[in-house]
Every structure is written in C-alpha cells, then in structure tokens.
C-alpha cells in the first residue's frame, strides 16, 4: 500500500478464483495496483474470496467501504457474493495486459489447469482466443506433476532448468506418458537439470502448437511469474521476445479490477 488514503479515495477490486489459487487485486482511481493477495482457491470459493478481501483490507488499512465496485473472474467467478459483475479470465487477462502494453499483442496465459492464447488488436479489442484442449499438457498441472516425480519443490524448477547444458526431449503429448518418460530419464542417469529443462521444453511445444503469435508476445499467469525462464524459452520458440506482464500472476484479477473501474464510470 502506497500513499495516504483521503476521503475522496476510491478503490476497485478484482478477484480471480482459478483452478488452484485465488488472486485478489485492489486498484485506485488512477488504476494503479495498490494491494494484492493470493491464497488457495479451496473448496468454498465464497469463503475464500471473503477471507482474502477481509485480510487484505485489514493488512493494508484500506477502508472497505471505499471499494466502490468489484468484479470476479476465473472458474469461481459465479461464486463471489460481493462481486458487482463478472468477466471471463480471457477478457480480464486481455484487459490487464493491454493496460501495460498498449499495442497489438498475443497474450499467452498459462494457468494451473488451462492455457489460453488471446489476440488483441492495436486498440485492445479481442480478435480471437483459444483455450487448450481437455488435457493438462502445457499447463501448471504438468509442471507440478514433473516436480512431484522428481521429488522437487516447484519453486526449485526455474533455477534448475536454467542450469541445464543438454537438451532433453520428452516426446509425448500426454502428461502421464511424459511423466513415464521422466522415469526413464532418471533410470538412464540423466542430470536433473536437463530433465527439468526437458519438461519446460514440453510445455513450450504444447504452447507453440496451440496458435500463432501476432504482434507483441505478452505472458501472464502464475506459471511464468514463478518460472521466467520458461517464458524466455517460449519467446525463443516463437522467435520473439516474451514480455512477462507486471504482477503476471495477478494479471487476471487486475484486469477484473479495471473492468470494475470501467463500470463505475
């Protein structure tokens, strides 16, 4: 929380309840992100939303009555009792990314259970979008599965992949089969850094085959926020620089807050 609250201060809130985690963003009248929070989505989305908001306003000393509008997004978007409106995560990631980079762009959002490719034109209007097939390959769930197989914490993966010196390829489309391939690599004594890099490359392949990149490449979501090296690899595969959106994991919630501000006008 930056700056002093004044009597005229107004806030807008966005909450993105995803498959794995719930993200909350509060912006001010100038659309600047002033507070954010994250927690597990859990099994009671309404309770999670309430808890996140209550704790955040208390921690940041924000007067809740000054939050004039709230929007929800993500899988749990229909389960936030205090939301004044809802938008899909496709709209919100578009909105959030365009706020930072005002040009024609392709946004790739990699979430826990799905990946999305969103095309915006130079005015921020969406031309097209695509979600992944009914499959965990190319999503955060795949990364978590590989970390589990390698007995690592997901937070260790990015640094390990960066240290890799040998390209290892996992050929399978399927998360389960790819995990089996990982077992074969372990048996063959392949260095763990190379296996992790191979797993990252597998995500890259699944993303690259989803769609084309037109204009600037902007990446959002928790997976690239925690694994910037993966974003770099995706950029290399598309032959363009991958720009990670500021507060990439909160980008959907931030976009929802922008929609809330827009509705309040």
């Amino acid at each position: 929380m930056t700056g002093e609250q004044t009597d005229t201060m107004q806030y807008y809130c966005g909450i993105d309840i995803g498959a794995s985690s719930a993200k909350l963003a509060i912006i001010d009248s100038d659309h600047q992100l002033v507070a954010k929070a994250i927690g597990r989505s859990g099994i009671d989305y309404a309770k999670t939303a309430e808890q996140l908001l209550t704790e955040l306003v208390e921690k940041e000393s924000i007067d809740r009555s000054k939050i004039v509008k709230s929007f929800s997004t993500g899988y749990g978007r229909d389960n936030v009792p205090w939301a004044d409106g809802k938008m899909t995560e496709i709209a919100c990631h578009g909105k959030g990314a365009f706020f930072h980079f005002k040009e024609r762009m392709t946004i790739i959002d990699i979430g826990a259970q799905d990946s999305k490719v969103i095309h915006l034109n130079e005015t921020g209007k969406r031309d097209n979008f695509k979600m992944n097939r009914k499959c965990a390959a190319g999503t955060g769930a795949f990364i978590e599965e590989i970390a589990y197989r390698l007995a690592l914490d997901v937070s260790e993966l990015n640094a390990l992949a960066e240290k890799s010196t040998n390209e290892v390829s996992l050929g399978s489309f399927c998360t389960v089969f790819a995990a089996t391939e990982v077992l074969a690599k372990i048996r063959a004594g392949v260095d763990v850094t190379d296996i992790v890099r191979g797993a990252f490359n597998s995500v890259v392949k699944r993303i690259v085959e989803m769609d084309r990149v037109e204009g600037m490449l902007v990446m959002t979501g928790g997976v690239v926020a925690n694994n910037p090296f993966l974003a770099k690899l995706i950029g290399l595969a598309f032959g363009t620089e991958a720009h990670i959106a500021p507060n990439a994991q909160y980008n959907g919630a931030f976009g929802a807050a922008l929609f809330a501000a827009e509705q309040a006008r």
Partner: protein, 408 residues
C-alpha cells in the same frame, strides 16, 4: 449467482411427442405386419418406405442414448468389446446398449430397438455407419447392403449421380427378397413426393430462424427435427410440421423470440452435444444469444427430391448434403447461412469421435473469418461421449465468445 433463464417450449411439441411415440410403438410392436429395415439417417429411406418396410434409424437411437446420458455407461461396454473409444460414439453407445440390453425406449415402456430384417446404409456421412450395421448383420445373420457414396465431393457431377442412382436401384432385388413384395414404381414415387413435402415444411421451420428475434433456436431444432429424420416419406411428418410452422408464424407475428432480449446470433457448426443440450441452451439464453442456424439441422433438407426422376433425384439429394462435400462448397454454403441468418459469430463443435462432421480441423474457421469477418470459437467435445467434454472450459469459451461479440 442463480439463473432465471427459461426454455420456451412449443405448444406443438405435445403433438410431436405423440407422433414420435406412435412411430416407436408401431416399430416395436411384435404383431406388426411389416418387415423392419434399418436405415442410416441420410440413407435411402424413401426406397425402403416405398417397398413397404417399417424404417428404423439407429442414429436417432444414438441421439436418445446421448440425450439421456445413458451413453456414458454404455460406451465403455462397446470399447471393451473391441470398438475403439476414438470411433463414432453413436456406434459405441448403440452397440453398448445392445450388449447390455438397455435402451431409452424402455422408459417409454417399449421393448428396445426392433431387430432388423435388412440393414441399409449410405456411406455419404462416414464409414462408421457401415461398420455399425455390419455388426448387427453378423449378430442376426441378415443382409447388410448399402450405397457407397463418394465423400469430399466438389461438383456433384453427372458421373457421380449416375453411379449413386444405379447403386440405389441395385438394392431392389435384395429388398424384394426380404420383403416378399415386388418393387412398385408408383408407390416409390408417392413416397418421394411425400418426403419432398416434408422437406419443404422442415426447411420452412429452419428458415423461420432468419427472423429477428429468432422464434426457434438450434437447440429446439435438434428436438423438432425428429419427424423429418424418422418419418420423412410418411404423411404424419407433413401434418406435424404444418402445425409447428403455424406456431412459428404466430411467434414471428408477435415478435416472440426463443431467447428473451436476443442480442447476438450464432451459427452452430457440427454435431450437437446431446447430453448437454439443456444446459447449453440455458447458458445461451442467459447470455441473450440465439443459436439461429446450423448445418446439422439442415442435413435433413432434401430439396432435390423429384418424383418424376426418383432414383436420380434421390442420388442428388443425398450427394448434395453438406457432410459429404469438399471444403469449397461447404464454405460457400456457410457464407450463405451467415448472411441469410444474420449471424454475428460461428461456434465450431469439434466432436472428437465424429471427424466427418467436425469442420474445424482443416483451417476452415480461420478461412471463414477472413472471408466473412465473423469471429469464431472452437469447442472440443463430443456428440455422446461426455468423457471428452469439459463443462468448465466449454462454459468459459462460450461466455468469452459472447463477450467478444459484445465488443463489436
């Protein structure tokens, strides 16, 4: 958030349920005098009816298995029997139903599907229908015959028409043998004329959706098309569509839309998702979006039928269908639909077990968007196998697509 969306059924639907109920009752009556011919949904039904058969359409049974979600439990039985989960889920649902001895017809207090005396297919839609019928041919030791129509047809040339017409005519000796009746050209022509009348009326029903607001949705159409599929060539289908059309004209006159406050209009490309018809219909109503047209419901419009040229016109009617055409005529057809029905966007259902009736795999959505400027969304799913369907992804895709239309 709770939904207040409501489906608006037609008064006529009661009559339709009676018409369909009577059809199934006669078909499954053990004391029926007529022989039973199984026919693929766009197979040579007119010839079979003209030769005195009761005609049964297993794809209709497949759709019932999907809509009742019985398919979910039955498909794995067929999979275990050697029919892959990757092939037509009408086939696997129906064979699963046969293996288990359970059918949605039982809920109507009817025995299951009638045993065939002869099975007659047309491969204009896919090869799966032939494999499906051959299973039953082997089970019951009855003839399984058919028409092998070329697929991916560009121009419907005279060479193709002559060949297909000859193939239809060549079915007659076997059908005579099974039915014990001689082929009667006058009766055949009479059935063709009745089928044409049914087509004209059914097309009128679908055309009504060109009005704004649309008085009927794609979801209504998938239910209302029952008589056009199973009773074409019979008077009862004609009588029914006259009633339905009158009700649609009333809706048009009074400005009643199938979707309250219709804002956006969508074309549905590909198969229905039978087990999710209601929830999808309600979601579109909530989003004030009418799914106004489809190539699927138009698959039972056979405008070329002509009693003065019965075999050749039948060949033309069944070769001109969208499903057996190449991409060029398909795209021209879609362009006409988009214009006629004032469509804002196109929904492509990529049915995993029905590649023959999924049109999103060969870059068509991208080409069509370039040509027409209309956005599209592709949703992965299936006609019957809900293991291939993701509820949340589909809901989000639809919601996001309508958000996109609202920006235009």
């Amino acid at each position: 958030m709770t939904s207040s969306a409501e489906l608006k059924d037609f008064e006529a639907s009661k009559t339709m349920r009676n018409v369909m109920g009577q059809y199934f009752k006669e078909l499954t009556d053990p004391a029926r005098p007529k022989k039973i011919a199984w026919c693929t949904s766009v197979g040579p039904a007119e010839l079979l009816r003209g030769m005195g058969f009761e005609v049964y359409f297993p794809e209709n049974h497949g759709a019932m298995l999907g809509a009742t979600r019985m398919a979910t439990d039955l498909i794995p039985l067929a999979n275990a029997h050697g029919f892959s989960p990757d092939i037509c889920s009408y086939l696997t649902s129906d064979i699963g139903s046969y293996l288990k001895g359970e059918s949605p017809l039982n809920k109507m207090k009817l025995p299951g599907p009638p045993k065939a005396d002869v099975l007659v297919y047309n491969t204009n839609q896919c090869r799966d229908v032939k494999d499906w019928f051959e299973f039953y041919g082997r089970e019951w030791n009855v003839p399984c015959i058919g028409v092998h129509t070329p697929r991916a047809i560009g121009d419907v040339s005279d060479t193709i028409l002559t060949d297909v017409a000859n193939q239809i005519e060549a079915l007659i000796p076997t059908l005579e043998e099974v039915s014990g009746q001689k082929f009667d050209m006058d009766k055949f022509k009479e059935v063709i004329a009745l089928s044409k009348q049914c087509t004209v009326l059914w097309k009128g029903v679908l055309d009504a959706a060109a009005n704004v607001p649309s008085p009927i949705s794609f979801f209504d159409g998938t239910i209302q098309m029952g008589p056009a599929v199973v009773l074409r060539g019979a008077q009862s289908a004609i009588d029914y569509y006259e009633i339905l059309l009158a009700e649609l004209n009333d809706r048009i006159k009074n400005g009643i839309g199938a979707v309250e406050g219709e804002k956006y209009r969508i074309h549905w490309e590909g198969m229905p998702i039978w087990g999710k018809l209601k929830s999808l219909a309600l979601q579109f109503i909530e989003l004030q979006t009418a799914v106004v047209s489809s190539t699927y419901c138009n698959s039972w419009v056979f405008e070329a039928l002509d009693p003065t040229e019965p075999f050749k016109s039948m060949a033309r009617a069944y070769c001109e269908l969208f499903i057996c055409r190449s991409d060029e005529p398909k795209e021209a057809y879609l362009e006409r639909m988009i214009e006629k029905y004032k469509v804002d966007g196109v929904f492509y259902h990529n049915a995993k077990t029905c590649p023959n009736n999924s049109n999103s795999s060969y870059n068509m959505p991208q080409r069509m968007q370039k040509k027409t400027g209309k956005p599209y969304v592709i949703v992965d799913g299936d006609l019957n196998d809900l293991r291939l369907y993701s509820e949340e992804q589909t809901r989000t895709n639809i919601e996001a697509f309508v958000e996109q239309l609202s920006q235009s």
